[in-house]
Structure formats: structure tokens, C-alpha cells
């Protein structure tokens, strides 16, 4: 029987990181947005162990400062999109306050390191959330549009088509046929 899973990446990642750090008996504090402060210096053996253990989950310790900042911006965006009440805020204010960064600086840094602008990244992330909601079968397209803060269902459908080249219903149809053919094999 196929089940569709919804998940919150940041919760998942946080749990994994906490588990792995605790395993090594390191004291740390988690300041949100994927930013961790280790309370004591750790030896390179433990550091490498932690690095490798996290890599198994696809979590990278960002060694370069720019990459670290970009990762924190991405995490702040994920966090912003995860809670509907955040939509009352302006995202650029949210990012600059959360990360104590000038937004123009953040946005240039982001584009230079990820190939796309913060705005396009957010659109892509919202469409991905919409896909997960669609596949859960719990929401109508209208509900999804409003939950993701689109001004209207038509605006949402237009953006979905622009990003994916498919209509929302074509997308759903393809995924359900794909899952069906997988379960036959």
C-alpha cells in the first residue's frame, strides 16, 4: 500500500543533528536556521566523525563562510514558508532581521552562490510545497493557493504552469500513473 508522506525538513534535520552531536558527547547550542555553536573546541577526530556521520543523511558542514551564509538564508526561507503566520511579514524583513544582514547583501550573495535569485528560489520552494499538499489528497487547489498566500487560485495555477510547464492536474495525473506502474513492477 502506497502512503504519501508530508514532512518538515527543518524539524527532521534538527533531530538528526542533535542525535549525532549528542552521540559524540559534545556540548552545543542550537540557534535555529541550521546554525550550531559548539561549546568547546573539539578535536579533529571527533570533527571528522561528525562530518562523516552527518554526510550519511546528506547534511553538510559548510566550511566556507559564503556557503554558510547561503545555507542560513535557505533555512530562513524554509522556516518562513513553514508557518502561515509568517506570511504577514515581508520576507526580506524576515531574512534581514533573522540573520542580522542587509537584504541587498544577502540577495547578492545568494544569487552568486546558487545560480538563482532569492525570489525564484522562494517560488520554486512554494511550488514544491504545493506539490506535497496536492499529493497528500487533503487539500483542494483553492485551499492550497490560499494556504501558500497566493492572491487567487488563478495566480497559483499560473505560477505552477510557468515553473513546471505542466498544469496542476497534469502533474497529479502523471505522479499517480507513475506510482501505479511502480507498484505493478
Amino acid at each position: 500500500m502506497k502512503q504519501v508522506l508530508g514532512y518538515q525538513t527543518h524539524t527532521l534535520v534538527r533531530k538528526v543533528i542533535e542525535k549525532e552531536i549528542e552521540k559524540l558527547g559534545i556540548e552545543y547550542s542550537y540557534s535555529g536556521t541550521g546554525h550550531i555553536e559548539l561549546m568547546n573546541d573539539i578535536n579533529s577526530e571527533d570533527y571528522n566523525k561528525l562530518k562523516l556521520n552527518l554526510l550519511e543523511y546528506g547534511i553538510y558542514i559548510q566550511s566556507n563562510h559564503q556557503q554558510q551564509m547561503v545555507q542560513r538564508i535557505k533555512d530562513a526561507i524554509d522556516e518562513f514558508l513553514s508557518f502561515e503566520e509568517n506570511y504577514n511579514y515581508n520576507l526580506s524583513t524576515y531574512i534581514s532581521e533573522k540573520l542580522e544582514l542587509n537584504y541587498t547583501y544577502a540577495s547578492n550573495l545568494f544569487s552568486e552562490n546558487t545560480l538563482i535569485t532569492i525570489q525564484s528560489h522562494i517560488i520554486l520552494k512554494k511550488i514544491e510545497r504545493a506539490k506535497i499538499m496536492m499529493l497528500s489528497g487533503k487539500y483542494s487547489l483553492t485551499e492550497i493557493a490560499y494556504k501558500l498566500n497566493y492572491s487567487s487560485p488563478a495566480h497559483f495555477s499560473g505560477q505552477f504552469k510557468k515553473v513546471t510547464g505542466l498544469t496542476a492536474s497534469q502533474f497529479e495525473k502523471i505522479i499517480s500513473k507513475r506510482n501505479f506502474s511502480d507498484s505493478e513492477n
Binding site: 546558487t114 545560480l115 528560489h121 520554486l124 520552494k125 506535497i132 505542466l166 495525473k173 505522479i175 507513475r178
Partner: protein, 146 residues
């Protein structure tokens, strides 16, 4: 930034040159490997000496092993799971598009016939794929027609 590794499986030499020219004109740090058919592609992908690509572009009609067959072998292989596949085809029939997606393609590209549109298509595909790889997004839901 890290190099973006791309493989193009295409038997037509003109198409390969056209593709190469478009990609070189984009301001992206890419490295392309060309193979002429699906046989050569699978050999390359399964060769431990090869670099694992970020993205494979796959022509549908090739001699020996075509695009659909190659796609199905890629999706059936545990080692190659997670590889992004973009179908690169002259067909724009809804049926072909749907079948490629059901077979596990991530992107379906209708071959553009001028370099400017090819450039914008490739840019969109490469940068979107880059987000799927680097921003914890579920690749099973990565479907795009351009």
C-alpha cells in the same frame, strides 16, 4: 562554485554542436561529456572512473539503445537512482511527454530550433536541477516541461 557536470546522449552531430555552442555561451561553470547512444551512455555511467554527472540529457531516437530504454535502465539501477534525466526530443506529443515522465524522466525538452531559445531552456533546466540537488527538495516531484 562547483563544476556542473552534464552528459548529452545524442547521435546527431549537428545537434551535439548546437547544444555545445548554447551551453558554452551560458555563464555557468559546466563540463559536458558527449555520448552517441544509450549503450555508450550506460557504459559511461556505470564506469567507476567516470565522474557522476549532475544531469543527463537524453535524445529519444538513437541507434542501438534509444532514450526510453536508457531511461528505464537508469531508473532500474540502484547506483544511478537520484540521477536527473532530461529528455531532449523533437516530439511534442502529450503522449510521449507523459510516457517519459511515467518512465522516470524529470524534464522534457522540446528541442528548440534557434540558439537563443535553446540557451534559455538549458539555463532554466540546469539552474532548477541545481536547486533540487542543493536545497533539499524531493526529486521524485521534479517534473518540468520546457
Amino acid at each position: 562554485m562547483k563544476k556542473i557536470r552534464i552528459v548529452l546522449a545524442e547521435d546527431d552531430e549537428d545537434d551535439r554542436l548546437f547544444f555545445k555552442e548554447a551551453i558554452n555561451q551560458l555563464d555557468l561553470n559546466t563540463e559536458i561529456k558527449f555520448v552517441a547512444d544509450g549503450d555508450e551512455l550506460l557504459k559511461y555511467l556505470n564506469d567507476p572512473e567516470s565522474h557522476f554527472p549532475d544531469l543527463v540529457f537524453l535524445d529519444l531516437n538513437m541507434p542501438r539503445k534509444g532514450g526510453i530504454q536508457s531511461l528505464s535502465e537508469i531508473r532500474a539501477s540502484q547506483k544511478l537512482t537520484g540521477l536527473s534525466v532530461a529528455i531532449y526530443s523533437t516530439s511534442s506529443s502529450d503522449e510521449d511527454i507523459e510516457n517519459c515522465f511515467i518512465g522516470g524522466a524529470n524534464v522534457y525538452i522540446k528541442k528548440p530550433n534557434n540558439i537563443e531559445s535553446l540557451k534559455s531552456v538549458l539555463f532554466k533546466v540546469i539552474t532548477t536541477n541545481h536547486q533540487y540537488i542543493n536545497s533539499t527538495m524531493n526529486k521524485d516531484n521534479f517534473l518540468m516541461v520546457v
